[in-house]
Amino acid sequence: MTEKKLADWWNESHASLYEKLGGEAAVNAAVDIFYRKVLADPRINRFFEGVDMEKQAAKQKAFLTMAFGGPHNYTGMDMRRGHAHLVKQGLNDSHFDAVMEHLGATMKELNVPDELIAQAAAIAESTRNDVLGR
């Protein structure tokens, strides 16, 4: 292998999911589609009533960045604290499932290959217990 090829091989095999998906640009493309699905879903949109849309969109963006394996500073503790008031309002597995569904559908809409969708879903899935305060 030439040096150039070796470097390419290294980069490709070690690129994070976030980079493979297209980094920040991918998150930007996804956030409106994803958030629109979430807001339009009668199963979960009551959790978004009365909140400032702009701030909420920034949070959706942070969530997608994390799900895509991008740079983020979320900890399990933040997840718990951030969702505690929603758990009190009845947030449960069915709602988490709905969000996961929208995450998958958003990526499908953006023609993301299935195996990368599965990787992102696995990252998001790993936050389930923290989000639901268990």
Binding site: D32, Y35, R36, A57, A58, A62, H72, N73
Partner: protein, 324 residues
């Protein structure tokens, strides 16, 4: 070496260090949360120097144009002087040049600044009755076109500032203003994009500025303005707006009344509901929403669900502060 000036101090920026890390490292009170350019908590503005494009990713165009940037992902190659958004606004005296009622409850206020004020039509200033009592009013004037600043102030029952403007303020008097602030204004570029402007009551003020600014800058896409009030007496500038519509084939003016039978030339219903009835799809449209906070918030959500991109929605809810 690149340096960052903030709060009167200048700090050298280490290679690979972000503006946020540098400032926080020196104990400067800059807020932050994600440290990765996502949450926008560390939003700052360059008051001298130009921030790198990378540090403006994800910001609204109107913020980019004002040199706002995210400190946590900002690695400038030139010296910058930075300020937090709320520290940017300066205070200056302005003399009232005219006060004319636009209708029974809204007063046109014209102000001449003692120093030139750089602003965009649709931004707002804070007008002070005394040093501790000030309120926000949107700018209906267009810089470079209107000589003075124009405000449309609606009088509220027992309103401490609006009541004072209506009853006691006189031409020739000098007041203190601070500003401008706000990012609800026309951004040049994409002149063919459709624009929808929806406002209630004195929410017409910023829209009147934005509309004329867009037309003057040669916006060629369709522009529709929906202005609503309960009754006909609450509408204003109808003559001027009809004239603009006559002179610009891409501009349509839709006055709406929700509390009485519409007369010829008026639509019956709430402005935003009529807009949503006439425009089903908001994909790729630029939207401006001003006035009643509940209207703004409801319309924002509806437009977003109808396909508008978040970055294409510009809004100024006229939150009325009921606190003493």
């Amino acid at each position: 070496m690149t340096s960052i000036t903030y709060g009167g101090n200048t700090y050298p920026l280490d290679k690979h260090q972000s503006v946020l890390d540098c400032l926080v490292g020196h104990g400067a009170p800059v807020p932050f949360s994600c440290r990765s350019g996502v949450c926008q908590t560390c939003l700052m503005r360059a008051v001298r120097g130009v921030p790198p494009e990378d540090s403006q990713r994800g910001l609204k165009d109107s913020l980019k144009l004002q040199n706002y940037f995210l400190a946590c992902v900002c690695h400038p190659t030139d010296d910058l002087e930075a300020a937090l958004p709320q520290e940017v606004v300066c205070s200056l005296p302005a003399t009232v040049t005219a006060l004319e009622p636009l209708n029974g409850e809204i007063m046109h206020v014209s102000l001449e600044c003692h120093a030139p004020l750089e602003y965009r039509a649709g931004q707002f200033i804070n007008l002070f009755r005394d040093p501790t009592l000030g309120r926000s009013y949107s700018l209906a004037s267009v810089p470079g076109h209107d000589e003075h600043l124009h405000l449309h102030v609606r009088r509220l029952p027992q309103g401490r500032v609006s009541g004072w403007i209506h009853e006691e303020l006189r031409a020739g008097q000098t007041v203190e203003i601070r500003g401008p602030s706000g990012d609800c204004f026309y951004v040049p570029g994409r002149p063919e994009q459709e624009m929808v402007l929806i406002g209630t009551g004195s929410g017409l003020a910023p829209l009147y500025g934005i509309l004329r600014d867009a037309l003057r800058r040669g916006h060629s896409g369709p522009i529709r303005l929906f202005h609503g009030s309960r009754n006909r007496a609450g509408l204003y500038l109808t003559g001027e707006l009809r004239e603009l519509a006559r002179n610009h084939s891409n501009f349509e003016y839709v006055p709406c009344v929700s509390g009485e039978e519409p007369a010829p030339g008026l639509e019956g219903g709430r402005a935003h509901e009529i807009a949503f009835r006439e425009i089903g799809d908001f994909k790729d449209k630029r939207l401006f929403l001003c006035g009643h906070p509940e209207m703004v918030s409801a319309a924002k959500k509806r437009a977003f669900l109808a396909g508008a991109a978040m970055k294409d929605i510009y809004a100024d809810p006229f939150n009325v502060n009921a606190a003493p």
